[in-house]
């Protein structure tokens, strides 16, 4: 921690974590995968500062992050559109910006969306745990969530930042709230009409949603009292139906196994939306082609 390439955490907002490609391959030991919830936005941020896609960056929930860069560092902010300032100077999203030595990078509160990504040239060089620097908020594997006073080292940049800015903070645009789904493995437990019922129901995002799951509120699915199954492996995007009948979409920190029937699986290309939908936002499911 003697090098100048580091950042000091001054403020974190509601929740800021370190994320990278995650820990796929350890589910059989009970370890969640972790990783950024909006992977296209995270990948864009890394690309803009010249990092590999697997470089560790910050996932900032509802803004509020303030960090001081000890040495001059290229940064890029993507995802939920937040006001960004370097010192007192407002700067743009989705472009590489050089933060001078000693300056403070500040994120305001996003007008829409939930999660913004802050990539720093060279990537965050925190100690990897089981091959990844990602924070898993369910089982506590990986670095702790960010807190004021922490100092994080940065790696050495290997490539120059991108010359051009990206057309938008989110490479995927704003979420539509329409999630395409594939049939789940336990449809028969929930009745033949369960997938149609899921796709016909108007849901809103529940306030308890987090990195583990997107919780939905609306009319409960019938036959949700089909009971528990013996625990079985779960995938990213699995739509589990607990006895309440209110579906939960499993996100990056989901438990590797679960005992409630899965009615559907969200199309991987739509999962980023689950990172950006706010409590109260409408959600509908539609059959993937």
């Amino acid at each position: 921690m003697t090098g100048a390439r580091r950042l000091e955490v001054l403020a974190t907002g509601p929740l800021s974590t370190v994320q990278d490609a995650g820990r796929a391959g350890l589910a059989h030991l009970g370890v969640p995968r972790a990783g950024p919830l909006d992977r296209p936005a995270a990948d864009l941020a890394n690309r803009l500062v010249g990092n590999d896609p697997a470089a560790a960056l910050l996932e900032v929930t509802l803004g509020g992050l303030e960090v001081r860069l000890v040495a001059a560092t290229w940064v890029a902010v993507t995802g939920a559109p937040v006001p960004v300032a370097v010192g007192d100077r407002p700067v743009g999203l989705a472009r590489a910006e050089l933060v001078p030595a000693g300056a403070v990078l500040r994120l305001g509160v996003p007008a829409t969306g939930v999660r913004s990504y802050v990539a720093l040239a060279g990537g965050l060089d925190v100690e990897p745990v089981l091959g990844s620097r990602a924070t898993d908020t369910l089982a506590g594997v990986g670095p702790p969530v960010l807190s004021p006073g922490q100092v994080l080292s940065l790696g050495t940049p290997t490539r120059p930042p991108a010359a051009a800015e990206a057309p938008a903070a989110s490479p995927t645009g704003a979420p539509t709230g329409v999630l395409r789904v594939h049939p789940g493995p336990r449809l028969e437990r929930l009745g033949p009409g369960a997938l149609g019922e899921l796709c016909a129901t108007a849901y809103v995002v529940g306030a308890e949603s987090n990195r583990v799951g997107l919780r939905l509120e609306g009319a409960p699915l019938a036959r949700a009292d089909a009971g528990e199954l013996p625990s079985e492996g779960m995938v990213l995007g699995a739509v589990q139906v607990p006895p309440s009948g209110l579906p939960v979409v499993f996100l990056a920190d989901h438990p590797p196994t679960g005992g409630y029937p899965v009615v559907a699986v969200v199309e991987p290309r739509d999962l980023w939306q689950c990172a950006q939908l706010r409590p109260g936002d409408p959600v509908r499911f539609s059959r993937a082609r």
Partner: protein, 208 residues
Amino acid sequence: MSPVRVRSFGPTALLAEVADAAAALALATWVREQGVTATDVVPAARTVLLDGLAPGEVAATAALLARWAPEPGGGPVADRGEAVEVPVVYDGPDLDDVAGLWGVTREEAVARHTGLELVSVFCGFAPGFAYLAGLPDGWAVPRLDSPRPRVPAGSVALADTWCGVYPSASPGGWRLLGRTDARLWDVERDPPALLAPGTRVRFVAVDP
């Protein structure tokens, strides 16, 4: 009838359903030996999840799974290595209840538990929490009616015919027989789980 029922689990995963946890462990071991390109192979109580398949390989992998047959003789497939010995201080708050359910004395209950050779068939619930099979059906014990808000790390516990050791403090509804100071989970070790699936396990009574 094929011993495997293969279900689609989204565009990049398959769920293979088998008879029991021993078959799931055997199938998961076989899948790894076949060189299937899944990022995760997750045995569980009655299924094996193959996750992270390339979309173009899902159909061929489903066909491969359908060809699997369990080895005659059955039983949990265990590692060929020595059994891991886990030292236990048998002073758990539910030891008397378990002895009562079994109709034996406290000492006889400890002798029954230390006389078993168990096999880790899958992990779940928390990193390194292994579901250990090998308790006879007649010794099954019900979960607590009301789970404890906090079970200490290292607690050795029973539920149904499963035995487990809590790697870290957590809420839990299993019946606590005792405690161990064995490190169940250590991210510096490979594998980090002491009782990874396939590991044989024996419990040894020690003084506090």
